[in-house]
Structures are given as C-alpha cells and as structure tokens.
Subunit: 156 residues, 2 copies
Amino acid sequence: MSELISREAYVKRFDRFLDEKKMRKTPERFAILKRILSFQSHFTIESLMQSMEEDSFHVSRATLYNTIQLLVEAQLVRRHVFEGLQVQYEKAGATPHSHLICTSCGKVKEVRDANFISYMNARKFTAFTTDFYSLYVYGTCSTCARKMKKRKALNS
Amino acid sequence: MSELISREAYVKRFDRFLDEKKMRKTPERFAILKRILSFQSHFTIESLMQSMEEDSFHVSRATLYNTIQLLVEAQLVRRHVFEGLQVQYEKAGATPHSHLICTSCGKVKEVRDANFISYMNARKFTAFTTDFYSLYVYGTCSTCARKMKKRKALNS
DNA sequence: ATGTATGCAAACCATTTGCAATGAC
DNA sequence: GTCATTGCAAATGGTTTGCATACAT
C-alpha cells in the first residue's frame, strides 16, 4: 500500500526507539529497516533474508528475528498470521487497511476502507487503550470462485 | 461469549459436514466437538487435551489436531493467532465479536459491537465473497495501564 | 574497556507425518 | 472385508537459544 510516512521518518523513529531503550545503533538494524522500507507489500522472514543477500548485506537469521521483533515493538512493522499461511510482515504505514484473505488460493489483498477507519478512530473501548488493530476478512476471491463453479459444472 | 446456536445445531452441522465430505463419524470426532462446546471461552490444544483427559476420554494429539482442523473447515470453530500468544480456538458462535488483546499481560477480552457487526454485514468487497472475519485490537488493558503508571512514578 | 549485538549451530517445541492396528461402513 | 481413522513415536521446520567473537559506546 502507499507510503505516507517518509523513509526518514521511519529511520528517525527507530533511532529514537533505540535511544529510549538504551540499545545500540548497529549497522545491521538500520540495514534491515531500510530493506523493509523498500518492499511494496507483505514479506516473510525468508524473502527479507533473500533480499538482504541480494543486496550483499549478510545478516544471520538470529539477527533478522531479533530486529524484526524490535521493529514490531516500535510499531514500525506489523506482523500478520493469516490462517493457513506463513507469517507475513509489512511496514506499518500511515494508512491502515483491512486484509482480504482467500481461503482457497491464499492470496491476500489489501483494502482501504475510509468508513471503517473513521469508525475505529472514534471507537473507544472501556478499560482498554487501543494501540493498533487488524481486520482479517476470510473468503473466496473471484478467480477461485470462478474455478469452483467450473469444477462443479463438470462434476454434475 | 454466549451461545445462540444450540449444542444440537453444532452436532448436526458437523454430521452434515462429514456426510458431504464422505468422512467417517467416529466417536472421537463427536467427543471432541462436545468437549469444545462445553468451553465458555477460548481454549488451546493443550487445555482441550487436558479437558478430554479429565473427562476420561483419551485421544491422541494427532487426532486432536486433525479434528480441530476439520471443525475449522466446517466453520464450527475459529482459530486465532494473537501476537505473542499461543494459538487459541473458540467455537464459532452466532454472535461475532471483536478481540481486545493486551500487549502487556496477554489477556484477551471479547467485545460485542453491534454497529461494527451491522457494518460488516452490509459491507461488500469487490471481487471477493466474505465467509467470516476477525477484528483484533491490540493495546493496553486498564490494569496494566495502572501498573505502568505506578512504575513510572516510582522511577522518576 | 565494557558489555551489548552478532553469527553460527544446536536446541526447542508446536505441529505434522509414517505406519501398523483398529473399527466405521 | 475395505479402507479411512486412530495412536504412537519419529520427523519436521520455523523460531529461539547458548556461547564465543566483534564492535558500538
């Protein structure tokens, strides 16, 4: 989805986060963040690792997991576990979006929903302070629906 | 959350599901479903297993996983993977609800939200047919917020 | 200089799988 | 009687951990 927060803003926020936590600003941490920012959409640990390698910046799996966790804590990255799929990550953009997950082919589509966003912005829960939220919608995409229809027609 | 679908309705639906799939109606499958129906709220594979054992009905882990998967496919059970917590299940009731997850203590609260439900009922997505959806709201519960405040006060 | 962060390989653990025995149909 | 389902134990695979080395502060 589009990127309303600038690259620099992410880096600055991570920098501040590390300051607050009194953690070190290693090249690995910023290299990983920058690589993540270059992704247009969802990614997995595996694709991130591969992408880093292609970029000739080697990091260990352990460091990748460590750093991703930091970024999730800093709320710069979101972690998603969709039913039946491997864990996916995405940078936390300025524009929240819902996820449509096709239970047949596993494709995940992002949908911006202004009405829903403004509803959630106004929504207060008793005895609970919201940080962020995820709406996962499971169903069937039109491509798979078409295929199923065809298969059914053949069987009958 | 409350149970607007009767015990018998669940069993009947599972029965029909097994018919359609031409699968066998083993005592294990129904014993597991019945045990699940007795839960008031979320449960894990582990707590389910334990509960079965207490009930003196032994099933293997493999069968538990198999059956749970069937029940999820039949949409009689929902599977939830909340950030930082172990996988949780719940019976799929007639009343959808959102989940408030405290990122501090991990407690999950269920919230019924009539406005949101009617919004989602009316909501159509282009090129996508909705089966079900999950809204996960992450934040801090009031208990944890209070503790944090106290800790902060002590440190300064 | 100090102690945090990294890399590597081993450990972990929830879930899956293979296979022989059971029992639903 | 057949073959799907079960139980058990072994295998799997994504993630975490332990420890020695490197390096941010």
